[in-house]
Amino acid sequence: MSTQSYYVPHQSRWPILASLSLFLMAIGAGGYINSLGKEEVSGFSGFSLLIGALFLAAILVGWFRNVIKESMAGMYSDQMDKSFRWGMSWFIFSEVMFFAAFFGALFYVRNLAVPWLGGEGEKGISNMLWQGFEAQWPLMSTPDMETFPGPKEIIDPWHIPLLNTVLLLSSSVTVTLAHHALRKNKRDAIVIWLAATILLGAVFVYFQAEEYVVAYEELGLTLHAGIYGATFFILTGFHGLHVTLGTFMLLVIWVRVMRGHFNPDHHFGFEAVSWYWHFVDVVWVGLFLFVYIL
């Protein structure tokens, strides 16, 4: 271990303000969601959610600005850099486990619950309760079609999803190219490759949104469409959110590149975002395989 002295920041207002805004958001979101479907949607809650979110955004900007300033002022040693690296890696690991929960749910219903309901396997006797129901995947007709009308049709993996796969995979390439350019200190190339990455991400999100519109309006593939719709939307939805967030982070990095914040040896901010981007990419490959194709 190095013997450099480690930078311990002094007091900071950001954490407690960030906690407060999370609290406002949670209270607001809870009240708002609870009032959905009632005669009067809770205005106070909506307000609290909004304020909390804006507040949090502002705080994150302020907090990161602080960190960037400190970094620019050279206050961060190599050892500090390592802390950030460990921090980011373990954060990504936690995200992996978050998705693992939903993938686990998908595998469970596909391989156990739905077959049981359809009369196969050890608990196949359950089919007594759902006479006429047959196990299949994708699950086009649910055990109780009145409550959960199954989808009429599902999304063809070889159109938009394939395109999206290509988009995301190439964005992983472009972000790597940007990284190489950064190592060689070619500012123009970095800017261009990053811009390409951002664009690819944005187009991905656009297509994903379009896919959702089609799913809802034409295919009858909705959150209510039984377990197929539920797993489909929770997996693609959280992935989409992560792409959106990642694109936003890339945008910030892009601006920082243009401002000359990074140099060939010190650019952890850049790397962190690119790790995140690769992670989002890998999740997509899993989705493409298990949600769309198989």
Binding site: W116, L117, K123, I125, S126, M128, L129, W130, P143, T147
Partner: protein, 370 residues
Amino acid sequence: MTLIGRGLALLGLILSPSAYAEWQVNLMPGVTEISRAVYDLHMTIFWICVAIGVVVFGIMLYSIINHRKSRGAKAHNFHENTLVEIIWTIVPFFILIGMAVPATATLIKMYDKGEAELDIQVTGFQWKWRYHYLGEDIDFFSSLSTPREQIANESEKGEHYLLEVDNPLVIPVGKKVRLLLTSNDVIHSWWVPGLAVKKDAIPGFINEAWTVVTEPGIYRGQCAELCGKDHGFMPIVVDVRSEEDYKLWLAEMKQAKAQASDAATQDWTLADLMEKGEEVYNRTCAACHQVTGEGIPGAFPALKNNPIMVAEPSAHIDVVLNGKAGTAMQAFRDQLDAVELAAVITYERNAWGNNSGDLVTPAQISKLKQ
């Protein structure tokens, strides 16, 4: 018993082994082959654990007594020994294998389903059980019969306090009975310790369990999965009868059913319906909507002053017969007969100041029920 009384009783327990009879501190061996196997298994692991405990705690106590500084003990300087580490990894491992073998054997026996002589579908409801004898035309609900006053400490508690029901599950002795467990709402768990059967009743799925009881008698159990407010008040009583008695009971049940349908065709006055309705309401509905009809805000709606009660009755009848999907309000169509339904609806429409004056007749309901 007073506190002091209890303290004395505890002392008595410790001093005299004969007192154990009254104080059940262990599993019951039960009345099936499986339950006795489980009991033996339980005792085996228990004694193994006791033995390990005696050794480990013994050595520890020995050190505490002998290797204390106040006795002038000097600390020795060993802190590593691969051999003992290996020994105390391997020995417990083998002990575990010793436990796993009988456990696996018992488990395999339990899972050996095979053909049964009687199939009963058991459905959990918030807070009662429904027993449907497949193949026989018998289907009834079984709910707690302990009077409210006993629970509220207003009267002396009976011998089987909280472990008694209106209609027990009746099964023949010595026959393999298969239970198909499911639920209408949340997860319940059907448990009778004497039979060593505990299996969850899961909405939308069926779990199988079976039992062969070797001795006639009455065996009591309880719901063993938190299922809401009255989870503590949904006991199970199994009445195991000899083959002849069981046949007799079957016949009685069928006869009672025929009589009930006769009653539906009679004429009922408002007063009669109100009287019957109050009884049905307090038995069936008050758990949620409360005796006062005021419900529990946020959980169960009030029926008192509820607009449904004075509006045209069809909406009211509909919700009672068919329930509301996805809420605790269950369908009572099959739970109650036509007379009871008519009575309870009439009662609700006229009790607690809901003076609609409406009379809903059993005949009306019978028609809807078909």
